[in-house]
């Protein structure tokens, strides 16, 4: 007879180990190879000679790479801040109000960038920006990134708000806090873990975007992924591996920081 839910030992599933190994291998082996050959001394990404940091030094000294990296971080920072503010406002407007006609529709509208194929958004943005004649260089990229980062920031913030009891805000109002003070002293601090998670996600998504940036970016507004792509077309060198590895490193650091911050908040 069964008593309550049983917990299964994963290892007793036939083929589980094999499937897991295949999946993990496909996911992480290429990354490992990429990082491995970024330390290669020779100009090859398939034949190992000896360990060296030359390609990192070269990449860091390359003006085009430095320009692209600066653009990437500038765009990601601006897009993250703008998208997080917009997403927070949107999350408040879709959870802290009386239910209204079209509330479900507004979720769909806010999250549409997740559903619309990226190439469609890219082409649409390109033609729209040229239609209205906006030529801000990196500014155009920032606007485009803000647009598609909103839903990534929105989802964790909304989830957090949804799980937050409104009686805390009522308690603040009861204790003489006006709506602005209530937001500043109660809603915002309580919402912080969601905001941190949303911002981290938006930053990483922006840092990594290629298709939209490729379409929207004019000369001089190149970001790292776009630069890497243009280099790869001329053949992969360990320098590209080094740049990619650094990008990977930055993403991992940001996501880990967000996770650690959230853990501290909940502790």
């Amino acid at each position: 007879m069964r008593t309550g839910p049983r917990t299964f030992d994963l290892r007793r599933y036939p083929g589980f180990g094999f499937m897991a190994a295949v999946c993990l291998g496909l996911l992480y082996l290429p990354l490992f190879v990429l990082v491995f050959f970024s330390f290669n001394e020779r100009r090859s990404v398939s034949n190992w000679s000896e360990f060296s940091l030359d390609w990192y030094a070269k990449a860091l000294a390359n003006d085009a790479i430095r320009q692209a990296a600066t653009n990437s971080f500038l765009v990601a920072t601006v897009a993250t801040v703008a998208a997080t503010i917009l997403a927070t406002a949107a999350a408040l407007a879709t959870t802290r109000v009386q239910r209204f006609r079209g509330l479900t529709a507004s979720y769909a509208v806010i999250n549409s960038p997740l559903m619309v194929p990226e190439i469609v958004t890219a082409v649409a943005l390109l033609s729209f920006l040229s239609l209205i004649g906006l030529k801000l260089g990196v500014g155009n990229v920032m606007i485009a990134h803000t647009v598609f980062c909103v839903p990534f920031a929105y989802l964790p913030i909304r989830a957090r708000l949804h799980g937050m009891d409104t009686t805390l805000e009522q308690a603040a109002a009861d204790l003489y806090a006006d709506p602005v003070q209530t937001f500043r002293h109660v809603t915002l601090p309580m919402l912080m873990p969601g905001i941190v998670a949303g911002a981290a996600l938006a930053f990483v998504i922006s840092l990594d975007d290629f298709i939209i940036t490729q379409m929207v970016a004019s000369a001089g507004a190149t970001t790292l992924p776009v630069y890497i792509y243009s280099q790869v077309r001329m053949g992969v060198t360990p320098e590209v591996n080094a740049v990619s590895s650094m990008l990977l490193g930055v993403s991992i650091i940001i996501v880990s920081m967000a996770v650690l911050l959230r853990r501290k908040e909940t502790a």
């Binding site: 009891d165 009686t167 805390l168 009522q170 308690a171 603040a172 109002a173 009861d174 204790l175 003489y176 806090a177 006006d178 003070q181 209530t182 002293h185 109660v186 601090p189 309580m190």
Partner: protein, 352 residues
């Protein structure tokens, strides 16, 4: 005042229907009723979390019905305390005063006084999420009282505590109210809580006030069968009024047994009424010859008292509580014939 939710729509719900209450200064006033009776809605209207559909709320003469919650000199102890989890105990207690822009020294002093008042000064620097239910309860009280509100609202604050703590807190709340002189408006569905703590009670049912009065008035002289039934156990007995004898009126129960009750209005002889007869007001005698003849159908030992079901001859079945003051178990078990004594005035005629 009247409160209608979703007014004008098909789902409109009238939560409070022309409720009118006058609560006195320095009073421990309880809103009592089953869940869904509108007591919490009434509390939320007074706090300002809901807006009245019609009518007004006067606070010491000023109409506050149009004011948002943060502009009303009223504070609330919430059902689940609603302490700010990202703040310490002291920060929670200081919150209202900080919002009122009191000076720092005064805030520090008040926080200290309040935490001493609720007997937990040593926990000032704890995060509120690290407290037990009872401790959270005390912090919520201190936080609300720190602002010296004109009125303190308490929304079933004891319902989340275990029995022992609940009984302790009843006394403490009553003492706090007397010491601070603040008007307490207390919401509960627990009639025992209401009886033991309140100066006056308003019994609500289906958005209407059924009766307002002191605990003993509500218990001894319930206005209608809802109040009689909700305030503890009672026997509701259909009866026909007979003639008045001196200051009592004779009431005939089904089966012909006669009970004397105090007249409440000017009901005509022969009219049908309902009597409320509290189980503890009935006395059983082992001698079937005294009083009304009855037979015990069921007996339950309950510690301080024993509860009996007694069927009157050709009449209704009564619930009777007998205090276990002396050993009198002989002849008082199920199946035995007993005498049922109902003192004149023990039964109460209900108007509706």
């Amino acid at each position: 005042m009247t409160k209608v939710f979703q007014a004008g729509s098909a789902e409109s719900v009238t939560a409070l229907d022309e409720v009118s209450l006058a609560i006195r200064d320095n009073e421990f006033f309880t809103l009592l009723g089953p869940s869904g009776c509108g007591k919490t809605t009434l509390l939320r209207l007074i706090a300002g979390f809901e807006q009245v559909t019609q009518g007004n709320i006067l606070l010491f003469g000023d109409d506050v019905a149009g004011l948002p919650p943060h502009k009303r000199p009223i504070n609330t102890v919430f059902q689940h305390y609603a302490l700010f989890p990202h703040m310490t105990v002291a920060e929670n207690v200081a919150f209202g005063l900080r919002m009122l822009r009191r000076d720092k020294a005064e805030i520090r002093r008040t926080v200290e006084t309040m935490l001493t008042l609720v007997k937990m000064p040593e926990l000032a620097d704890r995060k509120s999420s690290q407290l037990s239910g009872g401790q959270q309860q005390r912090v919520a009280l201190a936080r609300a009282l720190a602002n010296h509100p004109r009125v303190l609202l308490l929304d079933e604050p004891l319902s989340a505590l275990d029995l022992k703590l609940r009984q302790e807190m009843r006394l403490e709340l009553k003492t706090l109210q007397r010491e601070t002189g603040i008007t307490f408006i207390f919401v509960t569905h627990d009639q025992e809580e209401a009886l033991t703590m309140s100066d006056r009670i308003a019994v609500l049912q289906a958005g209407r006030i059924q009766q307002v009065g002191t605990p003993d008035t509500i218990y001894e002289q319930p206005a209608n069968s809802f109040v009689a039934n909700f305030m503890g156990e009672t026997n509701l007995l259909p009866a026909v009024l007979g003639t008045a004898e001196r200051d009592m009126i004779s009431c005939l129960l089904e089966g012909g047994a006669e009970v004397l009750a105090q007249p409440v209005g000017n009901e005509a002889a022969g009219s049908r009424v309902t009597l409320s007869l509290r189980p503890e007001r009935i006395v059983l005698s082992a001698d079937p010859g005294t009083g009304l003849a009855g037979r015990i159908t069921d007996r339950l030992y309950r510690g301080t008292d024993t509860s009996y079901r007694v069927k009157l001859e050709d009449g209704p079945e009564l619930l009777v509580y007998e205090q276990n003051v002396a050993d009198r178990s002989s002849g008082m078990s199920a199946g035995n014939s007993v005498g049922v004594l109902i003192a004149p005035g023990a039964a109460r005629i209900l108007v509706s």
